[in-house]
Symmetry: D2
Amino acid sequence: MDSQIVTFLINCPDDKGLVAKITNFFYSKGFNILSCQQYVNSIENTYFMRIRLNAEGTHISKKELEANFLELAEPLNFNWSVNYGDRKPNVAILVSHTSHCLYDLLERQKEGDLDCTISMVISNHDKLRPIAEMFNIPYFYLPVTKGAKEKQEEEVIKLLEDHKIDLIIMARYMQILSSNFINSFPERIINIHHSFLPAFQGANPYKRAYERGVKLIGATAHYATEDLDEGPIIEQGVERVTHDCTPKTLKRIGADVERLVLAKAIKCHLQNQIIVANNRAVVFPESGE
Amino acid sequence: MDSQIVTFLINCPDDKGLVAKITNFFYSKGFNILSCQQYVNSIENTYFMRIRLNAEGTHISKKELEANFLELAEPLNFNWSVNYGDRKPNVAILVSHTSHCLYDLLERQKEGDLDCTISMVISNHDKLRPIAEMFNIPYFYLPVTKGAKEKQEEEVIKLLEDHKIDLIIMARYMQILSSNFINSFPERIINIHHSFLPAFQGANPYKRAYERGVKLIGATAHYATEDLDEGPIIEQGVERVTHDCTPKTLKRIGADVERLVLAKAIKCHLQNQIIVANNRAVVFPESGE
Amino acid sequence: MDSQIVTFLINCPDDKGLVAKITNFFYSKGFNILSCQQYVNSIENTYFMRIRLNAEGTHISKKELEANFLELAEPLNFNWSVNYGDRKPNVAILVSHTSHCLYDLLERQKEGDLDCTISMVISNHDKLRPIAEMFNIPYFYLPVTKGAKEKQEEEVIKLLEDHKIDLIIMARYMQILSSNFINSFPERIINIHHSFLPAFQGANPYKRAYERGVKLIGATAHYATEDLDEGPIIEQGVERVTHDCTPKTLKRIGADVERLVLAKAIKCHLQNQIIVANNRAVVFPESGE
Amino acid sequence: MDSQIVTFLINCPDDKGLVAKITNFFYSKGFNILSCQQYVNSIENTYFMRIRLNAEGTHISKKELEANFLELAEPLNFNWSVNYGDRKPNVAILVSHTSHCLYDLLERQKEGDLDCTISMVISNHDKLRPIAEMFNIPYFYLPVTKGAKEKQEEEVIKLLEDHKIDLIIMARYMQILSSNFINSFPERIINIHHSFLPAFQGANPYKRAYERGVKLIGATAHYATEDLDEGPIIEQGVERVTHDCTPKTLKRIGADVERLVLAKAIKCHLQNQIIVANNRAVVFPESGE
């Protein structure tokens, strides 16, 4: 293998000696362990590890590494994945009318803050096309016409599959995705919900926040699952508000929370910091290697 | 009137010239206006004012002042109240098992940070008596026995009425108050709920927060109303948490949020900063007079 | 006057009856008072007011209004200014190498969140020209060559004056402005400093934050004054960091604080929410009219 | 060894294979690794580990364990310490006039939130004695008389040594400790400074914060070192303030930040979460075992 950073994500039943066994395995194969983050869920007796390795100086092939690792993994019942950091993930952004998250993501990617390729923007409206064009990103306008929602979804799925999209970002996409769509991309769709979940699930959270008279509003980035707004939470943020705020000012204040929370969540996903288990997202902090 | 600070709280339908009319009224009676805070709800077309006056040098009696004010207030449909700052409010604290809010309130009052008299602590358990005794506050143990909840409530109400209690603080009191109780003390009962409402209404919020995998937990201080946890929100706070937190650590982290949020809410109430309308609490900031 | 929103900013020595006198004045001229925010500095005995008026139905000219207001203002020693909301301020953005604040401001203005015209971007480097061009904003490249700093400043000043620039934003402009420059635009230059002032004044704040091992980093937006980083603070923000952060990650985390803090400060300035006195900025909250 | 939790803190030059070597060592001795937290400082090429072990089922003595560990530690240049969790640390609290941190710490300890024995309160004033007495903690009044500061310090040191004090908390102790005092208790004195260091080092931070017109105030808990307020930072907190705040209200708002920040820092110290190197405190998060 070249001088590259390899990341393994592992979760399994907790057991004595796991960290010693795993770190030994990689050490014996000649890897330098850059960071090794663990989490033990003592309630469910489960173990999670994110381990980052420098492959420099190893002479093992990917195939061989994975075959050898399987010998360790199987008896210990690992769920695991490996990322070799040698291919930029392809990302598609789904939007409707609202521009702030789209701008934010396109800008971060362009400036080198998000390690991915943004392959396309897909929308059920044509409104945000000029923004995609400013950044030279292909824009696909796939309107949802009455009675033809299913057909539109098929077109979206085809686009995503044809372009080998690794991550789908719902950047305020105001359509409910079907179970079929969701299940085609497990843990590969990130949605931003404009409230502090589980408060104000569903539509019009800012209007409802105004009516309830809350003193803080928030936003939540989560993996999309079949149950709307019930998926594993990756990141949340809040901002103080007062009685003085109207639904319109709440929306404006909330927009800044949304864009930050979504960008942080995507960064965590792209850096392989997340392991999902039992509908909860274990999000390891960025290691300061 | 003596050299005292008088606070008027006013809300009414919005109208042209309100601020000029009201401030003129007090100016013409010889009051010095220390601060004058307003809020216009442009959605509901309502007007709110908190005005603080120094009575020094005026020669008007309370009775006369109120009679004169009524002449202004009635044609303009004011809801209003006045506080002369000449009597410390009597406060009762209701608790069950949990001590952190009780300690916090007793300490703040003792150190002069809460402008009130804490007349008593009432509990359905005898557990926290030593804390009340440390601070020389009478402790009433009124257990809830099976089938006799109503009778206990009557005893509590009698205690509160006999001691002319102005404000009742539910500092983690784990009993649901009856509508009769609630309605006997409108906008005079403040509860601390150990979640960021409207998320996790009801019981066991920290356990549910763990299960939902949230990344922030919070607390909410609100006036108690018939619908549990649906009353006007006075103050909210949050703190970041991670996947690493167990329900037990969430509880500990949350305790610090609870105590701060409750103390802030009570301070706002005691300083006459709050006007409730339409189940929303208008909370004017402390004026820096 | 047309149906327009007029904003007066007033500060003066504190005196009895000020709010009544001022609100009466506007009421008697037929204005509807949309909001009236006050602040009394009881240490320095000064009074501050921001009053927003709807001119609909008044028949007074600007000239007449100001002449009449002077009769009230002079005996009471008002410092005051009035904004008729009938002209969008012209803004110039000064940048060097760093793009995040520039993107953020251009995007907010384009999306209608900043009520101004961005007339130009000026830089001592040519690097960020493509960003300005994406948003169709003229870009002026005025390099600072050795020994000719003064000449460059004169060119910048000429540009600003020729285009009648009302507000100059130093969006990470890495040049120290001369006293002459600063004093040509009093309270019209807003700078973003990438630390939580007064901590880490001067150069390389993130490197110094790393070395000091702080657990929070911040950013400060302030009016530029002769003493570098000593001007009136408009807005500040912070974000938690850990020992794990390198100067590079601090920089990235800080960038998000900077862009939010700068945008908030500029919004406050453009909405006439700020009165500066004694090197301190009184920043009235946005009124929820 | 009994069924006890053992914590090792290690820092050393970074090297390949450290995590494998260390975890193997403990695994081979029969320990169950409860958590293993690491940090690599890639700028200084140093490595830090906090490892928590369950000794249940091991048959090794402390002496043997330490002797064996030394064989691993010496060639790799470990700085290390071990805590067997079998003895509660003795804590002394130093105070002057201000009560809020003292109350907070006494209450947390009494309620079981701080795993230590509070052996005494020492003060240069007699004012806070009643608080110590409420909690049945011995109070030593050692006034600082003119020209006899050195003598008083000697008495304080003698008290601390006689009672085998492990941790000294300066809970708003308004005396500057001599170098001799500081160096007698390296990394064993925690101070709370009432500002967001390095802003407002030295005296009267709230007054200076008012004068500077900051929009956030803070507090910093740090190990005391010879250079006043320059020691390794353990924890910091902030709270928003406005122009409306006087030095007095800043002080009150700051008090709540101080007490939380100090309590968090002490908890981290007592739970062996901190390694100091190069005047920076590596503070591992609480592991959710």
